[in-house]
Symmetry: C2
Subunit: 389 residues, 2 copies
């Protein structure tokens, strides 16, 4: 054992071992009544490197270089009136030279604001949702906010995890479009206690008292249905999404309302619920085609399915719109491409995103805790898929 001397009295003979702490031999000097361990060289290197290795320039670096305090540097960069022009110039010049960029984390930690919005969205691979995201992005950017997105992939579990992750001080507010499968909302309720504003959009739920942005579900369905009737359709099949979700219910309501208004009777056989998969859509259509009293129109509450319907009918050599008219809902780009072009209801996805972001930003900036419901005006778009001759 090498001779160990006490760091205080420098004596060697008074030293005895006093156990091992964290894998390092510990010593005790009887004289000084002092316990200590011997530090590795690496520690010193580490301590030294701290001052030099940092890749990012900090306020400290600037302060030391000029010989002023950190607070002065901070104020100089924020153009605080207390700081002399001379100092400001010196600081700003050096900041430029060192290409100083403030550490956003540290800033957020103290200001308690990240200037970031969180978005949770079912998927990004179709334009339908990604265009909402685009709307969100635009108004956020205009207000100087960033956007963090999470894709829930239509999985409830992922949605829950995403909500948790985002709310841990990463964001100033949350925009949420639920999964098709989301049926419990405790994950939202818990987070609402944190005081971070939340806005639900497009697919919304009533259980939780957040502000909400809707599209014109009911009115849109009414317009579509009335349009089909106006074009002479007598038996209009309705292709819905899962039973539980809001948009299925509201669009069905609009459909039924117009049937009643036109003194047409509701036929349960004409209403189908699908999960929007190709297989289920085809199955539903097949069932309708086999009916003894034939249908003359199909109203799908999703453009995606409507396109699939048209493709399937064409494959079956059934004339669209003459034998069966088809209408969709949403106004996706594909509706313009398909032949015949798709009659649909434009829900204005971009506007939905924009409105949702606007409401959220308003809440954040003005500390507004009120609950708002907004419906984004849509528009009936008549194309050839419903124009019977």
């Amino acid at each position: 054992m090498p001779r160990v001397s006490c760091p205080k009295c420098n004596k060697v003979e008074t030293i005895q071992k006093s156990g091992i702490v964290r894998n390092k031999q510990r010593f005790y000097c009887k004289d000084c009544n002092y316990n200590f361990t011997i530090h590795h060289e690496s520690n010193k290197q580490k301590a030294r490197s701290k001052t030099s290795t940092s890749l990012q320039t900090s306020l400290q670096d600037i302060a030391k270089a000029i010989g002023i305090s950190v607070s002065t540097v901070s104020r100089a960069l924020h153009n605080h009136p207390d700081i002399s022009v001379k100092t400001k110039n010196a600081v700003q010049k050096l900041a430029n030279e060192l290409s100083y960029q403030p550490n956003a984390l540290a800033q957020s930690l103290v200001t308690k604001s990240t200037h970031t919005l969180g978005v949770i969205i079912p998927n990004l691979e179709t334009t339908f949702f990604s265009s909402m995201l685009s709307g969100i992005q635009h108004v956020a950017a205009k207000a100087g906010y960033r956007v963090v997105i999470c894709q829930s992939d239509e999985s409830h579990r992922t949605e829950v995890a995403n909500v948790q992750a985002l709310m841990n001080n990463m964001i100033d507010g949350l925009l949420l479009c639920h999964t098709l499968k989301t049926d419990t909302y405790d994950h939202i309720k818990i987070q609402m206690k944190r005081g971070i504003p939340i806005v639900q959009f497009y697919r919304v739920n009533n259980e939780v008292a957040t502000s909400r942005v809707f599209c014109e579900d009911e009115n849109g369905a009414e317009l579509i249905t009335q349009h089909l009737i106006d074009k002479g359709c007598k038996r209009i099949a309705l292709l819905l999404g899962p039973k539980e979700i809001n948009i299925s219910q509201k669009r069905k309501k609009g459909y039924l309302k117009i049937l009643a208004k036109n003194k047409m009777v509701e036929d349960p056989e004409l209403i189908a619920h699908v999960d929007f998969s190709q297989a289920e859509v085809v199955k539903a259509v097949d069932k309708w085609l086999a009916l003894s009293k034939p249908i003359d129109a199909i109203f799908s509450i999703s453009d995606k399915s409507a396109v699939q319907v048209i493709q399937y009918l064409k494959k079956k050599k059934i004339s669209v719109p003459n034998t069966i008219s088809v209408a969709g809902f949403g106004n996706e780009y594909t509706g313009e491409i398909i032949e015949p072009q798709l009659t649909t209801f434009d829900v204005k996805t971009v506007n939905i995103g924009e409105e949702a972001a606007k409401i959220l930003l308003d809440k954040i900036i003005n500390q507004d805790t009120s609950v708002k419901d907004i419906t984004v005006k849509g528009k009936l778009i008549v194309r050839s898929s419903s124009m019977k001759k």
Copy 2:
């Protein structure tokens, strides 16, 4: 003036005014040689509220409640071996009850890692880019990373601003797909000094030494061109994007290579550069249609434009593919919908996103600073738009 007494000696007669500091009267006690101001009541309230108002439970809250130190709480929650089972249980139980969530900002500040990836992408309204994003999102999520996206909107200035904003300690790595207009790369070079890994994908540039993910530009163009020739096309027009961008150059190169291979001569009149807008596409097609030696195929390096070409030719009653074959590049969903369905090259957008994210994560996790170039394998997709009878 109310009587003021010295906070130290409590005397009143020794007090005199000594100026105003920050709008508050300041006093001076001759006896104690002490300057002071009178604090507002609100300050005390403020000080008190600090302990109670916080909406988020912190390590401190837990520590105080149990009567242990913050460091112990931290270790208990991280399952550190130094902590007794008893303490761990107590801490974890209380943490649950108070629904403690760590402050991600504070964590990141000390660990210097945010577990967040930044993505800058030209736009989100078309599936082409948003599906790449989807790929990125998936592999990031699987590795426990979040994704921050910024939309550059094809604006160079926005791209630059986004890069800056993201790199300020918000992210552990950056995925970048340039704007069509991006032609200077100083904003990237500056950021590379920070030591945060960057990966360029799809639209990449050679000036900056980052890792890059390509699609099979050249090979894809070769396959398409050869396919058209195989189907009997003799005069194949080429619709390119802006001249400067990488993908225009590389796809043109593939096209020319196959022409040469088949002993066909390059005709400058058959090559057009557009900005992918409808107007320019139509203009280019019109020019080709007016040629004395007629064309028999159009190869567009973008599916979007290819669809526009088909629609325009159909409007002009020109038969596709019999008079003019059309092929695209990218494999967007619309290519399946249009009639005739579009022959194209599937660049596997989702895979591009996935690969880019994988490389970036690898760099982050393994501190890998090497420069990698990866090409994502694509696939020729033959559909009816090129099947001359």
